[in-house]
Every structure is written in structure tokens, then in C-alpha cells.
């Protein structure tokens, strides 16, 4: 068996295609390189990079390889064999599958080493690696199955293209989505989905190696029915297994920066340690921009750590965190209740002006109307630009007036 596996490995076309799939994965991973600073994001990137394009190549190659017996005219020779057909197919399938797993392993090891070099000891999250593994296993098995069932030359490119398109059009966070684009610390992969995906991938492998070829002289009902039933059951389980990523339970002891006078404290998920310095700097910039005119919260929490406290999303770039913290400072995000819709609308408009002003000040912007990162009503943009054009003390006087109107009834 070992010798045959070695022969299958040597003669698989994936031996030549693996470097290309690895290169494609490396390009994908490089595109996401800003997120590598933390383990959950690095884990999601690993899964994404190892599967995004390689599923198409692997499924197509598996289909093409599975057709080789018919291409080679081995029909009679393969019927008149002593060895059970599933063993022959299993070794053949494993010859392609091994390259899928090797690709994932190489990608995972590369990203593991890169992240370790950046942020120190730690490990990629196994759940994301399992996600990649199930996706790759499923792709190869489906390709192999398609190749066994049809000898058409269109099948390999068709199955490859189908896998590629499926990766793009699958609804995000659906249980059957091929991969995830990001892996924020506030989310984790749903164990129920992982279990269902693993079972479905295993069922696909069983199907791929046990279902007789369409040209086989006899097709025992049991041999077809049992794996087919297993495939249908596990697919049903997968469909109802819930969203792919689910919120994590908040940790009892988040990682918090040292408190500083006049600056809100910043707390992040322990996994987001690498973002803490920038997040603290963002909080300092916000405090400086507020200049004592805008009431600030005691603490900003990384998203998912607290449900009813001001939150921000810890990232590797500072500007989005500044914007998040500025928004989280607004009274409507701090539990203020409005008496009427008109009150709420007015508070939102004025509050909007304050957060845009604060964001602009903290980010060093002189104008916001020409900045595409703000999606502002023209009136708000005009007001904020007018405020930003004033001397500093007049800006503070303006914002104090706005705060007085916005914080009315909020204990400010």
C-alpha cells in the first residue's frame, strides 16, 4: 500500500501544480498581511489562502485524475482484480488529497513562523485549520467523484470553475461557505458547523471511493445507497448547523492598557495584544481632540468584550479605531434615551457632527467633505469643516455648545 501511495504521489499532476497553488495562496496571504499581527486573523488568513484558489485546481485535477482509468482503457483490467475497488480508489484519491493537505501544511507553517517572528510565541487556531482541511478534502472528493461518474473532458474544468465560483458566491458566514475572509477575536468558528463539515467531507470521501463507476458491470444497490444516504444526511446536518462564525463569550480578564490621567483606558481581547499600543494611542488622540469639551467614557472595550459599554474594533490601523472610539463616545452609544423621534434625530445629527469633528481632529484632518471615508450628509460636512477652520479655542467653544445640546438628559 505504501509503495502504491508513493507511486500515486510521484505520478500526480499536482506534483507540478502544487507550487502554483502555493504561490496563489501566498499572494492571497500577502494581500491580508496587515491582519497577521494577531493569531485569530492569521488563522483565518491561513485557511483562506490555502483554499481560495487551490480548491478549483484540486477539484479539477482530482476529476481529471479520476478519469485516467477510462482514458487509459483499463476497464476490463480493473474489473478483474482481486483487491477491493474501494482500496484502489482510496489510494488514488489519497495521491491527490495529500497535495491538498501538504499545501495547507506549508501555508500554515509559513504563516505560523511569520506571525511568531512578528508578535512572539503562540499558535494558529486549530479550528481555522480544520475549516481549511474540510474544504480541501471536500473539494478533492467531489472532483474525484465527478471524474469517476463521467468521462467527459468538460468535467475537470467545469468542476474546477464551479468550486471557484462557489467560493465567491456562497453567502458569507453560511455553514457551507468555503472559507472565511477574516477571523476577528470576537468571533470563533461554530463547533457544530465544524463537526458537520467534517462529517460531510468524510461522507464525500466515502462516496468518491465506494460508488462504482457508471461503466461498472454491476452496481449493487447497497454499495450506492449507503454512502449516498450518508452524504444526504450530513449535508442536511450541515445546512441546519448554524452560522459559520459565532460570537465568543467575553473573557473574564481582558487585556487592558495602563490607565493614564484624562485618557480613557483601553481593553482588548488577549489575542489582540498586538493592537493594544495603537488602540491606546488612538484613545490618547481622542482625549486630546476632545480637549475636555467632550465627556469621554472611562474605558473603551474591544468589540465583543462588553455588550453595553463603549466599544471599538481593534485593528492594525489606527484611523478606524479613532473613528470607532469617537462614535462610541456619542451619547446615543452610551445608553441615552430620547423622548421622541424628533429628539433622536436632532441628537443623531449633532452627535454626528461631534464625532466627525473629533475624528478629524484626532486624525489631523483639516476638512472632511472631501474625505471618502466619511459618508456624510452635505450639511454635516459643511458645519464640521466650518468648525475645523476656526481657531482651536473657538472650535472648543463650538463643540461645547453642541455637547450641551446633545448630552442633555444624559448626565453629562
Amino acid at each position: 500500500m505504501k509503495t502504491m501511495f508513493g507511486i500515486e504521489l510521484r505520478r500526480s499532476i499536482m506534483l507540478w501544480l502544487l507550487p502554483f497553488t502555493l504561490a496563489a495562496g501566498a499572494l492571497v496571504a500577502w494581500g491580508w498581511s496587515e491582519t497577521w499581527l494577531v493569531w485569530p486573523e492569521a488563522s483565518a488568513t491561513t485557511s483562506f489562502a490555502a483554499t481560495r484558489f487551490s480548491v478549483a485546481v484540486l477539484a479539477g485535477v482530482a476529476a481529471w485524475s479520476a478519469q485516467r482509468d477510462r482514458r487509459g482503457g483499463l476497464r476490463d483490467q480493473l474489473v478483474a482484480i482481486a483487491r477491493p475497488a474501494w482500496q484502489v480508489e482510496a489510494v488514488h484519491l489519497l495521491g491527490t488529497m495529500a497535495y491538498a493537505w501538504i499545501g495547507l501544511l506549508i501555508t500554515a507553517l509559513s504563516i505560523q513562523l511569520l506571525v511568531m517572528a512578528k508578535i512572539g510565541p503562540g499558535f494558529l487556531w486549530p479550528s481555522y485549520l480544520l475549516l481549511g482541511l474540510t474544504t480541501l478534502t471536500f473539494s478533492v472528493a467531489v472532483g474525484h467523484l465527478a471524474g469517476r461518474l463521467s468521462s467527459s473532458r468538460l468535467i475537470p474544468p467545469l468542476i474546477g470553475a464551479t468550486m471557484l465560483v462557489a467560493g465567491f458566491i456562497a453567502p458569507p458566514n453560511a455553514p457551507f461557505d468555503l472559507s472565511v475572509v477574516t477571523g476577528p477575536a470576537k468571533l470563533e468558528l461554530n463547533p457544530s458547523v465544524l463537526a458537520a463539515r467534517s462529517a460531510f467531507a468524510a461522507a464525500c470521501v466515502v462516496l468518491a471511493i465506494t460508488i462504482p463507476r457508471t461503466s461498472a458491470p454491476s452496481r449493487p444497490t447497497k454499495q450506492v445507497a449507503v454512502p449516498l444516504l450518508a452524504g444526504v444526511i450530513t449535508l442536511g446536518w450541515l445546512t441546519v448547523s448554524g452560522p459559520l462564525q459565532v460570537p465568543r463569550a467575553p473573557v473574564a480578564r481582558p487585556l487592558c492598557a495602563e490607565p493614564a490621567a484624562g485618557v480613557p483606558r483601553v481593553c482588548v481581547w488577549p489575542e489582540n495584544r498586538a493592537y493594544l499600543n495603537d488602540a491606546t494611542r488612538a484613545a490618547r488622540l481622542i482625549a486630546s481632540a476632545a480637549g475636555g469639551a467632550v465627556p469621554l467614557p472611562d474605558t473603551y472595550y474591544d468589540e465583543g468584550l462588553s455588550e453595553d459599554k463603549p466599544t471599538f474594533t481593534a485593528l492594525s490601523t489606527i484611523n478606524p479605531m479613532i473613528a470607532d472610539m469617537a462614535i462610541a463616545t456619542m451619547p446615543s452609544f452610551r445608553g441615552c434615551r430620547d423622548k421622541s423621534e424628533a429628539d433622536a434625530e436632532e441628537r443623531a445629527t449633532i452627535g454626528g457632527e461631534i464625532w466627525v469633528w473629533m475624528t478629524a481632529r484626532a486624525s489631523g484632518l483639516k476638512s472632511v467633505t472631501n474625505d471618502s471615508s466619511f459618508l456624510l450628509p452635505a450639511e454635516v460636512g459643511r458645519d464640521v469643516d466650518a468648525a475645523l477652520a476656526k481657531p482651536h479655542d473657538k472650535q472648543l467653544a463650538w463643540v461645547k455648545r453642541q455637547v450641551a445640546r446633545t448630552w442633555e438628559g444624559c448626565g453629562a
Binding site: M1, K2, T3, M4, I7, R10, R11, R68, D69, G72, G73, L74, R75, D76, Q77, L78, V79, A80, I81, A82, R83, P84, V88, P217, S218
Partner: protein, 250 residues
């Protein structure tokens, strides 16, 4: 113990009967199935190789009655089969492909390498073992086909038109190989070439329209020819006589 025994074999494709009530046996040595194209030789060999289960009658191979997939799988370990259309994986090396075929036949791992090398040496392909299958000429491919059929502990060798594509020198080598195979196995070969039969076969069955119309030795067949029967050799005349007699009686 005969290498194979067939009693009242029936084989059909759809509503078309190819073989009807055929009875034959083959003992140690080389037995030929001689007949014109379309006589049912390949169908018979496919049945003997357990590719197609019999539509009726009894099949006994290497002393074992074959009437289930389990029986068939057991006897396949010791049956070597070269189909008329020999299939192969073009990107495998010659060694790898023969080893693969031995693996399919469940030749034990501990002997698989030696069996593969022995088979390659016997067909004269040992020095081409590293070549890819796609690089072989037609004659070499036929020899590779024979090698895959004889790798391992084979008790029954079934060769369907084995000399097609071989040049005269290769045919001579092939005949020598078949003679040596017969020392350890029952060899059944189908052919429509009388000279192959004359050169290597100890017994023969003339088959036409799915029926055996003559069984005996090549000498007996040659002796049966009536004066005036066309043919360049006595055996060829005997063969033509057998076919014509069958046509008359039908």
C-alpha cells in the same frame, strides 16, 4: 486439477447470444482458442477472467467453482489476463505499472518487487523499467501487457490476441515465453493466427459462432483436413475444414 473447466456456458449481450452451451477444459500447458473474428473468443476469455459473470452454466477456475463475487475475487489473485485492448497509465513507468497491476492482484508486498522484476525480465523489458509507458512501442506495450499478466504467483494466464502488433522476431520471443509460462501455469490464448497455434499450443479449441466445433491437439486438427481443403499448411487446412464442417452442420 485442470486450470479451468467450463460446462454449458451461456453468455449474452442484451438479447444477442454470443456463447451458447459451451463446454471446455484446459489443463497445464498451452491451450489455444482458435477462431475467426467475432467467433466469441474475447467474450469467452472475458468470462474466464471473471470480467463478466456467466449468463448460465458452470465455471470452475483453478479448482474453485466461481459463482459469486467472493469466489471470483479469490481466483483473480492467481489469474493473469491480457485483454485484447490492453489499457495502461501512460505517465507511469513500466516498473510502476507492472507493480501496480501486481498490487491490484494482491501480490503480497514482500514479494511484489521481485515478482515485478521477474515478469519484466521474462518479457525482456527489465532494461526499460524506468521508461514511461507512453514511450513504449506497440510491441513493447504488448510485452508489458504480458508482464502485468504474469507478475506474481499466477496459475492461469489468459491472453487475448497476444501477438497482435509484434514483429516476427518479437513473435518468436513471445512463443518462447509462452512455452516457459506453461511450465508453471495453465495458459489459454485466443488467436486467429494458425502459425502461433502450431508453434506453441499443446491443445486447441476451434470456436465459431459461440460454439466449440473442434477440440484436440494441433496434430489431430491437421489430420482431419480432407484433401482439397484450402490452406498453406496442414493445420491451416484442418482449421478451414473445421469451420466449414461447422457451417454445414449449422
Amino acid at each position: 486439477m485442470p486450470g479451468l473447466e467450463v460446462v454449458g456456458l451461456v453468455q449474452s449481450y442484451g438479447s444477442r447470444t454470443i456463447i451458447s452451451g459451451l463446454t471446455m477444459r484446459a489443463d497445464a500447458g498451452v491451450t489455444a482458442l482458435l477462431g475467426p473474428n467475432g467467433a466469441g473468443k474475447s467474450t469467452l476469455l472475458r468470462t474466464l477472467a471473471t470480467v463478466t459473470p456467466p449468463g448460465g452454466g458452470e465455471l470452475r477456475l483453478l479448482g474453485r467453482k466461481v459463482d459469486s463475487e467472493k469466489d471470483a475475487r479469490e481466483v483473480r489473485k492467481r489469474i493473469g489476463y491480457l485483454p485484447q485492448e490492453f489499457g495502461y497509465h501512460p505517465n507511469f513507468s513500466v516498473y510502476e505499472f507492472i507493480r501496480y497491476c501486481a498490487w491490484l492482484r494482491e501480490v503480497p508486498d514482500r514479494t511484489a518487487h521481485a515478482s515485478t522484476m521477474t515478469a519484466l525480465e521474462r518479457v525482456g523489458l527489465a532494461d526499460r523499467r524506468k521508461s514511461r509507458m507512453r514511450e513504449l512501442s506497440g510491441g513493447m506495450l504488448r510485452r508489458a501487457g504480458i508482464a502485468q499478466a504474469i507478475a506474481g504467483d499466477v496459475g492461469l494466464v489468459l491472453l487475448d490476441e497476444p501477438t497482435v502488433g509484434l514483429d516476427p522476431e518479437q513473435r518468436l520471443e513471445f512463443r518462447e515465453l509462452v512455452r516457459t509460462l506453461a511450465d508453471t501455469a495453465t495458459v489459454v490464448l485466443s488467436t486467429h493466427l494458425v502459425e502461433d497455434v502450431a508453434a506453441v499450443c499443446t491443445r486447441l479449441h476451434v470456436i465459431t459462432a459461440g460454439r466449440i466445433v473442434f477440440s484436440g491437439t494441433p496434430a489431430e486438427l491437421a489430420a482431419n483436413a480432407t484433401p482439397g481443403t484450402p490452406g498453406d499448411t496442414p493445420l491451416e487446412s484442418g482449421y478451414i475444414w473445421a469451420l466449414r464442417s461447422a457451417a454445414v452442420s449449422a
